[in-house]
């Protein structure tokens, strides 16, 4: 199992942060990819809300395709945390919630120099995020894959 990439969007759909750990298939255009990701999540959110047997409900947690899983967490203020991993890594939306509570709030919200809506430059945020992701059980194989390829 592998962790591919992490996205953080604000409520307007601007990508505040993009990190990748491995990406076997290179993307052609990063901004286009971010726009598409946000678009899919935006459409899926309404889709799930409509289909939900109980209202309110139908909050998207993750989806999986034949090659990857996308895990999703949305904060009450509309920040969207997205993590791409390989299939079968379980439900990681709780992990994204922890990243929001312990990493984002600590290093971005409490940073007096941060202007809301700007892309995140804080090195502390990046390093804490890196530690949180590398601690995941499904990250282990990233290193193995590298040594093979």
């Amino acid at each position: 199992m592998t962790v591919y990439a992490f996205y953080l969007f604000d409520r307007q759909g601007n990508c505040l942060c993009y990190r990748e750990w491995s990406r076997p298939k290179l993307m052609k255009d990063a901004t286009q990819d971010q726009k598409n990701t946000f678009g899919v999540l935006f459409a899926l959110k309404n889709f799930c809300k409509k289909l939900s047997p109980r209202q309110p409900g139908g909050q998207l947690k993750n989806y999986s395709t034949d090659v990857y899983s996308l895990h999703y967490f949305e904060s009450p203020t509309g920040l969207r945390f997205v993590l791409l991993t390989s299939r079968g890594s379980g439900d990681l939306s709780g992990v994204l919630r922890d990243i929001y509570l312990n990493v984002y709030v600590d290093t971005v919200t409490r940073n007096p120099l941060y202007v809301p809506g700007e892309s995140i430059q804080s090195q502390l945020f990046f390093s804490k995020l890196d530690t949180a992701i590398k601690a995941l059980a499904c990250f282990q194989d990233n290193e193995e894959n590298k040594s093979i390829s």
Partner: protein, 140 residues
């Protein structure tokens, strides 16, 4: 517990929809049509977003939310079978395989059925109901 089943043709049009439970979301037929084509396009984009190379490239297979799960199966000809169910439901994949079998047997082999048009076949309804009951039994 199964909630509902959608069958979507290769162009994204809804050709069959059925609710199996009273708890399933009640929507107008226009809403169902819209949801089906939305799902069709979401699947297409989710294929493009893939960070790794895909051998089959079917796009989304399973969506999990806090109140339901959605499982999708796409046949080689592009027909999509989509089932929603309560989160703890097992064997959804097998159920969709079974539905595909029934589709091949009772819809495609029906001489009056036109491809990609809404499904109105009596035998398919009957067999589908049996398959659903069997699945509900195996899950309870």
């Amino acid at each position: 517990m199964l909630l509902s089943l959608f069958v979507v043709n290769k162009a994204g049009g809804l050709i069959y929809q059925q609710n199996f439970s009273d708890t399933a979301a009640k929507l107008s037929s226009n809403d169902y049509l819209r949801l089906a084509s939305t799902f069709h396009s979401i699947q297409a984009i989710s294929r493009q977003l893939s960070p790794a190379h895909s051998r089959f490239g079917f796009g989304i297979e399973r969506i999990e939310t806090d109140t339901f799960v959605l499982q999708a199966f796409q046949s080689q000809t592009g027909v999509k079978f989509v089932a929603t169910a309560s989160p703890e439901t097992k064997n959804l994949k097998n159920f969709l395989r079974r539905v595909y079998d029934l589709y091949a047997d009772y819809v495609l082999k029906n001489p009056f059925y036109e491809l990609d048009m809404p499904i109105r076949c009596e035998l398919w309804e009957v067999m589908l109901q049996l398959a659903v009951e069997e699945h509900q039994r195996s899950n309870s």
